[in-house]
Symmetry: C2
Subunit: 323 residues, 2 copies
Amino acid sequence: MLAGERVALARLMTLVENRTLALPAIMSRLHPHTGRAHLIGITGPPGAGKSTLADRLVAHLRRTGRRVGVVAVDPSSPFSGGAVLGDRIRMQDHFLDAGVFIRSLSTRGSHGGLPRAARDVVRLLDAFGMDTIVVETVGVGQTELDVMRLADTILVVLVPEAGDAVQVMKAGLLEIADVFVVNKADRDGAMRMVTDLQQMLHLRPAAGWSVPVLATQAAHDVGIAEVVVELARHREVAAADPRRAGRDQARRAEELVDVLDEALRRRLEAGLGAARDGLAGLVAAVRAGTVDPYTAALRILGEPATLAGLVGLGAAAGDGGPT
Amino acid sequence: MLAGERVALARLMTLVENRTLALPAIMSRLHPHTGRAHLIGITGPPGAGKSTLADRLVAHLRRTGRRVGVVAVDPSSPFSGGAVLGDRIRMQDHFLDAGVFIRSLSTRGSHGGLPRAARDVVRLLDAFGMDTIVVETVGVGQTELDVMRLADTILVVLVPEAGDAVQVMKAGLLEIADVFVVNKADRDGAMRMVTDLQQMLHLRPAAGWSVPVLATQAAHDVGIAEVVVELARHREVAAADPRRAGRDQARRAEELVDVLDEALRRRLEAGLGAARDGLAGLVAAVRAGTVDPYTAALRILGEPATLAGLVGLGAAAGDGGPT
């Protein structure tokens, strides 16, 4: 993969998405090759035209010679597969371009792990040598906001009919946006929305960077160059922000907890699945609903040997259980 | 709280939201008193009028004598506090009603734990004796879909201008809806949206329950009675679904893993924060960025005594670290 093999990159992405046991070893190995790319997050409500805007951004960035990775985070939905694929197909021009790599990440069974998978896939693209990585989420929710926390620069895309400014605040978008785009700006109410957003942003204390509000018509390739300029400008300003170091430190410490916790959770799942004797009986009782999960957890937490066995840290593994 | 003390209920909710260490003991104690309430989830894009609809539903349910709990899941946003509070204030008629209890849940710092906090707050309301519990999310994303998994019956609220039917599919809403409501049905395109949704639903294999699509004008109290009827009808049909038992078993087993994992993660955080000697040096190197989190995790996972110490399962706790 480090030699530029796209097939190797795709395989590593599948391993990452499946949360392979070898994940820490893989990511540890790649880490020295990461840290160069500009990571741009794109979010906004469904229907705002995020995919089309991402597609245009990629085209503009390619014209300046930059290599681009795209990570599309889609909700788990067997039924909607077709529709989501439709968006990806719109980007098919780029599939033939060796300077672009596109990956959709499914949320199926992610149980809160999606932001981690997205983070690791982004690192793969970074190590692969992409100059810019665009992460696009479908929808606006807590997980999507968590995914956006990965980004150096967050682009929030709205449409005039996305609801009033209060809705933007309710969805938590005002706080996270580094650049606002009002897309489909040929529609009624677009300029009103631009003005509303600008007024709301004026109420916020601006420290170093004042969030621009741009109007685009992505479907007609209007206004995209301005977006590219503002994204690059934000990266420069943000890199000089002194508060950034503290945030980075906290993020790294949290990631260490995440990686360890992911390993322990996996051991817990395996240990409970393979439980024998008294512990097996307890698990069966929880499944049947005769013992509630909290009561069962209390019993296991109260027996260090049983818990140690579950997470592979004791001689007591599988060797009995709560009585 | 079990004696009907509202103040005690509010205090327990704060403990649950803060993920108190006593959580397993509290939930274990309350479990025998839960399982009676009808849990209704309300979701949909920002601006669909979910809060207003929830308010009207509460009023209708109260007229039939039912006691109602409301849990509003808001994104973390210091700035939007006022706006979100605005919604809650709309429900202030109910604040004076002893048969209603309303709680907003913040996502601040939840790190994927929001669905768990929502689940536990719902259980408190259930144990308190509420007949119906309404859980409302702001926005449509993966976390919101996870929160909805708690519900017996999921109501998806859309507005005519919410985007076309494809957007509904992209957000994963078609799969989870038990009842669809097209709100603000006096606006252009409402009947078209009802028809589109009905056609999409016809493409799905209906097993036992065919999802109704209702038109409402929540702000004018139009169409709410029909929604109440369909919600109750869904509960009866779903209770008779034979696939339900298997899903419930899997959900209980997963909850046991969740509770244990939450305890272990907390121990990890405390253990890493209080690390001494070599381990403290490793944590400092991760924070500074000189050792990446995966490499550090590999070293800790490779030393069972260090890991056991971190999660309080070994004599080696705080007693050194990787060298």
